[in-house]
Structure formats: C-alpha cells, structure tokens
C-alpha cells in the first residue's frame, strides 16, 4: 500500500471513529450558543503547554534542542484543530520555535490527532559554510510537516498528550533540511 493511501486511511479512521460522540456545541468547554456570537458556536479554545525536543538539521544549519512553551488552540466541533505555539529550546544556544498547525482529532476521551504544521526556528543556531552556502543565511530555517499525537486523551475539556512525533522539511536553496519533533508531554487547559 502506498504511503499516501495509508495516510488517507488513517485520516479516515480518525474522522469516522466517533467514540463518545456528542452534538457540536453541547460539550463541556464549548462556547455556549446563548452567550456568544453565532460564529463562535462549536469552538472550544484552550491553552496548551508542550514540552519535548525539536531539531532542524540540514547541511548548512542545525537548530533547536530541548524545551517547552505555550500555545493557543481552537477545536471546532470537537473535530477540527487550529493552533499556534511558541516553544523555547536550548542545546544549540537559545532558540524559539514558532509553529502553526491545523488538523483533525478523534472525538471522545481517546482523542488521537494528526496535524499539518508550519514551523520556523528563530534565534541561535549552528551554521555550516559549504561551497553551496558560502555565507551566513539570513532567513531562519522553516519546515512544513506532519505531526501525530497517538496518545492523546480528553476529559471535560482537559487534554493530555504523550509521545507526539512530528517530521517536516524545508528548503535551503539549494538543498533540503528536515525538522524532527518529539513531544514528551502536552497538557491543555480549556479557556472558559
């Protein structure tokens, strides 16, 4: 089976599995329809705190390390996810990874998720000069990637995720860099 077909199947399983499915807007933590504009109905906002390791590697740059940060997530109809976060990392100096993601999750208590992410590594990094890159690049490394959260659980709006993995790629003009992410723990708290 091709990788693309495997991915489509995985997304289909996530989208189709209902777990303890409930009506949008009726779940704990959702914006109540009576107190909010109509466009907010079904949205749940939460703050999450990720911790783990993230690194960007290419022939010309190394960035990242270990650390943690904070993010803001909007979950729509308990299914669709939009999020942004900033995480501080140390090891290769001090750096911050800014990341935006969009994806889907399974409904219920067991809520594994998959997201498409765009990350950029700002701050300190190692740079390697090569014949293809004879001077210091000015554009921070970035990567478009995929993140899997297979051990993610939700209970009354609180969320805990363990052992998230992510991989991405960015262009180095010429060449390609790869970003790797291992989320050790992420805790999410709903904004009431």
């Amino acid at each position: 089976m091709s990788r693309a077909r495997t991915l489509v199947l995985a997304l289909g399983v996530l989208a189709g599995a209902e777990g303890r499915a409930q009506e949008p807007g009726a779940l704990s933590g959702d914006v109540p329809a009576a107190n909010a504009p109509a466009w907010l109905a079904g949205h749940r906002f939460s703050v999450y705190l990720p911790a783990g390791a993230q690194v960007y590697l290419s022939d010309t740059r190394t960035a990242g390390g270990i650390g943690g940060g904070v993010g803001l997530r909007d979950t729509f109809q308990e299914r669709f996810i939009l999020q942004v976060d900033a995480t501080y990392h140390m090891l290769v100096g001090n750096s911050v990874v800014l990341r935006a993601g969009a994806g889907i999750q399974r409904r219920g208590v067991y809520t594994p998720a998959v997201l498409v992410t765009l990350s950029t590594f700002v701050g300190d990094r190692l740079t390697f000069l090569t014949p293809a890159h004879p001077s210091v690049p000015v554009v921070p490394p970035y990567a478009l990637g995929l993140q899997l959260a297979p051990l993610r659980f939700t209970y009354e709006g609180m969320q805990v995720s363990l052992a998230e993995v992510g991989i991405g790629a960015g262009l180095e003009f010429p060449g390609v860099g790869f970003a790797y992410r291992l989320g050790v723990l992420e805790v999410s708290i709903p904004l009431e």
Binding site: L57, T62, V92, D124, L126, T127, F128
Partner: protein, 336 residues
C-alpha cells in the same frame, strides 16, 4: 492557496540569494596574497616539528612534577613539557625580527609564560590580528600542538618580510593542556584592546582520507573522511570565517569546514566546541576562530605516546598553514 505555497518558498529563496551573492573578496586582493601563500615551505614546517619533538623525546626537558599537580602517575599530563619548546619558539620569532615580550603569571607549579611576538601595523597599529597556539604538549605532541606552533613560526617568517595596515600578533600560550591556564591569563590582559580577528591553532597536521575516519557529534554534518580543516567561529567572527572560506575556495587549497556558533559559543552543545585557547578569547568578548583537525574525533594518536611526526600529513598540513596565512594577510590589510 496554491499560489501561496509557491510564493512563500520563492520569496525566501530570493532573500537567500541576496544574502549569498555578496562578493567577499576581489581578485586584486587574492592576487596580492597569492605570492605570500606560495612561500609556505612544507619542509620548514616538518623540520620544526622534528626539532621540537626530538627535544621532548630526548628527555632534555623535564616534565612537570605530577605529584605537585595531584595527578595519577598514569595520567598523560605527567608527560607535559613546555620549557625548551617555548625557547625554540621564541628563537624562531626573534630570527623573524619580531618584537618579543612575555606575559607571565601564577604561582608554582602553575606559573605561565605566554610568548608574544608582534609585527606592528603601519596605518592602524592599534587594531590587532591575533594568531595563537599553545606550545606545551603531552608526550611528543607532534600534532597537538607542535603543528600549531610550527604554523605560527612559518607565518611569522613570511609575514615579517612585508608591511601591513594592522598589527599581527603571535602568541604562544602556556599550559593549555592543564585547562587553558595561559590563555585565560592572557585574555584577562587584553580586554580593552581592539582585536579585529583571531585564529587559534590546536592540532592542524593530521589528515586521513579513508571513508569513516572522521567522527563527529550529533547535529554536526561532518564529512566521512578526515580530509578537511575545521574552523569554529563565534558570532563576532562569522564574517571573517566566511572570508577565510571564500579565500580558500579562490586559492583552491583544501577542504575547509567552518562551523559558526551563535554568540560567544558558551551556550552551544555543552561547551563541546570550546576545547582550546580560542574560548579564553570568547570569554572576554573578543572574536576568535579555532582551526583544528578535530583532534580525537579523527586522530587516534591524540594525547598518546604515538602522537609523533611520522603520523602527520605534510602536504595537508602545509595547505592548512597556507589558508591561515592568506586569511591573516587579508585581515591585516596587506601586504603593502
């Protein structure tokens, strides 16, 4: 949306191209430096290493008293010598006609005497190009670090025949092997000086073209064969490292792998890139580059009795000195 996916990478690529397209060195500068580079003599370099290692081998020089250092008799540091090799280094600087001084400090058994030789600049003598290497060594120390002191001596011989805008200062550091003692003391004395650029040699003579001969650390994209010279530069030195790299490419000398660390390098990878006297200069805010064959990441004789002259690669050693001499001549603003 599709357009956005195309536009963003293309914009980043355009910005990248702008950053990479600057010409760092013009042809006239390269051609002015080339005659100096061609004067580097492989035989002189090797002769110096033979002379110094023979002195160490002959037991003319007594090692430091291991008991006073509190070391086990089996420690490699119990073979550490410096006095006679320092005298040889000083004589060579003197024969090049350089102005010699010493910077001394400490108490027994850790007294240090850094050997300083200067070629004063003509128009900007207050701006200094510092070239350093430690002259103490364990066992015979052919690569670590007689190769570095040989490089200084050969560069001093050639550069002293010319005049430069900036001052070129050679410093033989004492007691590096015991914890950068000499260079730390020296760096303390030059906090107020205007250091335009520094290079520090520590082991630049060992090369191995066999695939798999080079080891590295995670996160460092290193070639598989140990056939290159590594340059580790702090952020103040990034432009100088790019110039050295470009100059080497233009002169067609050897494979050079610059590793540019952020800020003063002290927060990077737990200090793994600070293992020589350059980090003493980083610590006081001066720019410095570390030129090395990567020591124990390549050289199986590192800090062993087998670190002998026959393990060096004379041709590559000469090329490493040529690269360094070219860069120093460029930064010094000459030759005039």
């Amino acid at each position: 949306m599709n357009r956005l996916f195309v536009f963003v990478p293309v914009l980043l690529g355009a910005l990248w191209s702008v950053s990479c397209s600057k010409s760092l060195i013009d042809n006239a500068q390269v051609e002015a430096i080339r005659p100096l580079v061609e004067q580097v003599e492989q035989q002189r370099l090797m002769d110096f290493v033979v002379e110094v290692t023979n002195v160490r081998k002959s037991k003319e020089e007594q090692p430091l008293d291991c008991a006073l250092l509190g070391r086990s008799p089996n420690s490699s540091l119990c073979s550490l010598t410096r006095k006679l090799s320092g005298e040889i280094l000083q004589r060579r600087f003197e024969s090049a006609g350089l102005r010699i001084s010493h910077q001394t400090g400490g108490t027994e058994p850790l007294t240090t005497s850094n050997i300083i030789a200067e070629l004063p600049g003509v128009t900007h003598p207050e701006e200094i190009i510092l070239v350093g290497a430690h002259y103490d060594a364990v066992y015979q120390g052919a690569d670590d670090n007689t190769s570095g002191t040989a490089a200084m001596v050969e560069m001093a011989r050639i550069l002293s025949q010319y005049k430069f805008d900036r001052t070129i200062r050679f410093v033989g550091f004492d007691l590096e092997e015991l914890g950068l003692i000499g260079s730390l003391r020296y760096a303390d004395t030059i906090k107020g000086e205007r250091i335009y650029s520094s290079i520090v040699f520590d082991g630049i003579g060992y090369y191995d073209f066999t695939p798999g001969s080079q080891r590295s650390m995670p996160g460092l994209p290193t070639p598989e064969a140990g056939d290159f010279l590594t340059v580790i530069a702090d952020e103040l030195s990034h432009p100088r490292a790019a110039e050295l790299f470009t100059l080497n490419e233009r002169l067609g000398l050897m494979k050079v792998v610059p590793i540019l660390v952020p800020r003063d390098g002290t927060f990077t990878m737990g200090g793994a890139l600070q293992r020589s006297d350059h980090s003493s200069l980083w610590a006081v805010g001066h720019p410095a580059m570390f030129l090395t064959d990567t020591a124990n990441f390549r050289n199986p004789h590192y800090h062993r009795p087998t670190d002998t002259v026959d393990t060096l690669h004379p041709e590559m050693f000469r090329k490493a000195v040529q690269v360094s001499l070219a860069a120093v001549a460029l930064w010094a603003g000459g030759p005039r």
